[in-house]
């Protein structure tokens, strides 16, 4: 990794749709991907709800942006840290989340999962390892 690359973390702690923060955070991630920094996303507290399967927003008349998470691999955004304790408190398991994959060009384009379930202590380590933290 080059010296002028910074570690950017996007922290998602809010549920989707009730407020716009989750959607507008994703818009920053997509633009930010063009800048060749070392990018990670963190999902904790209500932020874990952003990644759930089977979201269908037709009746509330709001755009369903959850499929966009599955496109993050194409933008080389491949590190999505999800906190296990946050899932547990909300009655969710890893199976309730979308499958989000990326292709590793250094490993013969093998498909690998982008979501990494981590403990609260590991999430704290992820936070402490960053240069720039953007919170939404």
């Amino acid at each position: 990794m080059e010296d002028d690359v910074k570690k950017f973390l996007y922290v998602n702690r809010k549920a989707p749709y009730g407020t716009i923060y989750a959607l507008e955070a994703l818009e920053v991630v997509l633009i930010g991907a063009a800048f060749d920094q070392d990018v990670s996303l963190a999902f904790l507290d209500d932020g874990v709800f952003q990644l759930t399967k089977s979201q269908d927003t037709k009746e509330i008349g709001v755009k369903n942006f959850s499929p966009t998470f599955r496109a993050l691999g194409d933008y080389e955004v491949t590190k999505l840290y999800v906190e296990k304790e946050s899932l547990d408190e909300r009655g969710l398991t890893a199976d309730d989340l979308q499958e989000i994959m990326w292709e590793d060009e250094d490993d013969d384009w093998a498909e690998k999962p982008s979501i990494r379930i981590v403990s609260r202590a590991e999430m704290a380590d992820v936070f402490a390892d960053q240069d720039v933290i953007l919170s939404f």
Partner: protein, 101 residues
Amino acid sequence: MATLHTVNKSPFANQSLLSCLAHAKDGDTVLMIEDAVYGAASGTGLADAMAARSGVNLAALGPDLAARGIATERLLAGIKAVDYAGFVELAASHDRAQAWL
């Protein structure tokens, strides 16, 4: 003389739903809308607090449940899903509405 209480904030982030439940009277209805519908799911750390208010009718807005991927099978026992027309009916059939913002 019953009240329709509406709550719109996630109970995992905000105290509004718990405060509403602590003030609702038997025969009132608490309708969870927007991010509050996360409180309607079974298997969460809040399920006991919800079940404890057995005299209060609990409902959740179906369109908001669907948006958030919460299937009807996952709802806590006793919680009724209503659509926007059902929301209007609840508002008309109660004597007043109180929003827990």
